[in-house]
């Protein structure tokens, strides 16, 4: 474990009455550094909170915002639940998949884009919506998405999901 990661782990542990509470925040921190939760991060987390790597695996696998494999730099998550479906999310989804030439939970070959259909993002009054590296975009049409795509290509975000 790098000294920096160890220090961060200890700082997170100190926030809580019990060490294991720091597990998920620590994994989110590692994911921000490595772009996904690596096997190394699993072992580091086990050491930080005092449980086995197997237990960490089991816990990490429960949460949809923790990736266990590398994903594209632009993480595009489009809502697929009821209110967005009622306001045209399916057409948006079809457009995005065609445009990026990838499907649900796939990354583009050049490592730039990851696409996923997710459940309700709590933005139902501005449907359809999506998140791009956890940043909201609302009231989307295929044309509006295309404009965003150009902006993203010109200004790529920091890779992966920010931890804080």
């Amino acid at each position: 474990m790098t000294p920096e990661r160890l220090a961060r782990g200890k700082e997170l542990v100190a926030r809580y009455p019990q060490a294991q509470s720091a597990l998920i925040p620590f994994l989110q921190y590692c994911q921000e550094q490595d772009r996904y939760v690596t096997p190394r991060a699993i072992e580091d987390a086990a050491q930080i909170v005092g449980i086995t790597p197997g237990e960490v695996e089991s816990i990490a696998s429960f949460y949809t915002l923790l990736f266990r494999q590398p994903v594209g730099r632009h993480i595009i998550q489009v809502c697929r639940t009821l209110s967005c479906m009622l306001r045209g999310a399916e057409a948006l989804q079809d457009h995005i998949k065609r445009k990026l030439a990838i499907g649900h939970r796939e990354s583009s070959a050049d490592g730039q884009f990851y696409y996923e259909e997710v459940e309700c993002l709590a933005a139902c009054d501005r449907a359809p919506c999506l998140q791009h590296n956890l940043e909201f975009h609302y009231d989307l049409t295929p044309a509006a998405f295309d404009s965003l795509l150009e902006r993203w290509r010109a200004n790529p975000p920091s890779p992966a999901m920010p931890a804080e």
Binding site: R15, Y16, P17, Q18, A19, Q20, S21, A22, L23, I24, P25, L27, Q28, V49, S58, I59, F62, Y63, T64, L65, L66, R80, T81, L82, S83, M85, L86, R87, E119, C120, L121, A122, A123, C124, D125, R126, A127, Q131, L134, E135, F136, M161, P162, E164
Partner: protein
């Protein structure tokens, strides 16, 4: 009709309430001052009980009663603010988090004072990164001005607040799953009893309250239990933020006095249906709620009236579906949701939820059979009421209600080999 004067939503959209100076100038922390300087913790708790405030997260359990379950045995207790909003159709808590975080903080501190908690946690949904950042800044500003931290407002009451981000799991909105997740584990709900008040976070007495609920605590203290209790029906009083979405002209969050009709919410608040459309169905309280129909438009929006109609107020996630909406498609979307979000502990939810989702997906795709319809008609008995937590019980209500109300639509998907509302299917028998 005069619009109800917003309470929690007052100033949202006009004032920058995340700015502590603005918040202070607009009644900010008046409730906290009153609680800490003029009232004992018991008096605060009694006021909340007298108001008949019921939880605004979904379960609608009386808040004062929940607090009263804490044992008087001297053990430390924790307060957890549940900001893991993920009930489909609900977007009120994210709005409160992002637009009026200091009001949440105020309600949280008052509540912690009432129950004698020295540490409070706020569990913020992982997807709400923007709201988390806003809240973090607001908390720092509140600390700086001694509304949080040691010796609040110069009194003997001290409170630490820890912000914890989720990482993607609808089930972590269920209070015991949230505690498991806060403890750094899989978000798998616990069997109740024991209730969190007896054995909660780290096994200690704990109260979990929704964001909106804590916000109303502030107002109950400021304006009095009598004021709150006199709004709407006696056993389901007070204001409530309804998140209205789907086929309406003005989707949005609307703070209503409980007890108004569904018709009034749709037509007076949300601008009515889209042009040329007619109402087909509406879900009053999130994905777990059974649908109501055009004959139910005069139903009162409150916990008991909707309960009497065999649906629920729930989170207040109010979704409107018009005549262009296929009920099978809607049911498919929701059963897929519950299959995805099941934690997997209980067989009827895990397996039954999966099979229900498959059957409804088959029906929607035009590959369903009479057998599927028959099974869906009886499966309620094995899936509902047989699981450890309410998620399993949420799989069937909407599906069952639209199956009963629109059986011909489901039958048509079988007979036609596809959806009768979409373009004609080539080669259908």
């Amino acid at each position: 009709m005069a619009r109800f004067e917003p309470v929690l939503m007052h100033g949202i959209g006009e004032l920058d309430l995340a700015d502590i100076a603005v918040y202070e100038r607009n009644g900010g922390f008046a409730g906290l001052r009153k609680a800490l300087k003029e009232m004992t913790p018991e008096a605060v708790a009694n006021e909340v009980s007298a108001s008949n405030l019921r939880g605004r997260g979904g379960a609608g359990f009386p808040t004062g009663k929940k607090w009263s379950f804490l044992p008087k045995d001297g053990r430390s207790r924790y307060l957890v603010c549940n900001c893991d909003e993920a009930e489909p159709g609900t977007f009120k808590d994210r709005m409160l988090l992002e637009r009026t975080p200091l009001q949440i903080i105020e309600g949280l501190v008052i509540s912690a004072y009432a129950i004698g908690a020295k540490t409070a946690f706020i569990y913020i949904r992982g997807e709400f990164l923007g709201g988390f950042r806003i809240f973090k800044e607001a908390l720092a500003a509140a600390r700086e001005r001694h509304y949080v931290g040691p010796k609040i407002l110069g009194t003997d009451f001290s409170l630490d607040v820890v912000i914890h981000r989720g990482a993607g799991a609808y089930i972590c909105g269920e209070e015991t799953a949230q505690l498991e997740s806060l403890e750094g584990k899989r978000g798998e709900p616990r069997l109740k009893p024991p209730f969190p008040a007896i054995s909660g976070l780290y096994g200690m007495p704990t109260v979990v309250n929704n964001v909106e609920t804590l916000g109303y605590v502030k107002h109950v203290i400021e304006r009095g239990a009598q004021w709150f209790a006199s709004i709407g029906p006696a056993r389901s009083p007070g204001p409530k933020i309804m998140s209205v979405s789907g086929h309406v002209r003005k989707p949005g969050n609307y703070e209503i006095p409980l007890g108004i009709s569904a018709r009034e919410l749709i037509e007076e608040y949300a601008g009515g249906l889209l042009p040329g459309r007619s109402l087909k169905a509406f879900q009053p309280g999130g994905a777990s709620s059974a649908a109501l129909f055009s004959e139910d438009l005069d139903a009162g929006i409150d916990f008991d009236s909707l309960g009497a109609k065999r649906t629920m107020l729930g989170s207040g996630g109010f979704v409107v579906m018009d005549d262009t909406a296929c009920m099978v498609r809607c049911a498919q979307t929701l059963t897929r949701f519950f299959e995805h979000e099941s934690c997997g502990q209980c067989t009827p939810c895990r397996e039954g939820g999966q099979w229900v989702a498959r059957m409804v997906a088959r029906l929607e795709a035009g590959e369903g059979s009479e057998q599927d319809l028959r099974v869906l008609g009886v499966i309620n008995n094995t899936i509902t009421g047989t699981n450890l937590c309410p998620l399993g019980d949420s799989i069937m209500p909407f599906l069952g209600s639209v199956l009963a109300r629109f059986p011909e639509e489901f039958a048509a998907h079988v007979a036609l080999g596809g959806c009768p509302l979409r373009a004609p299917i080539a080669g259908a028998a």
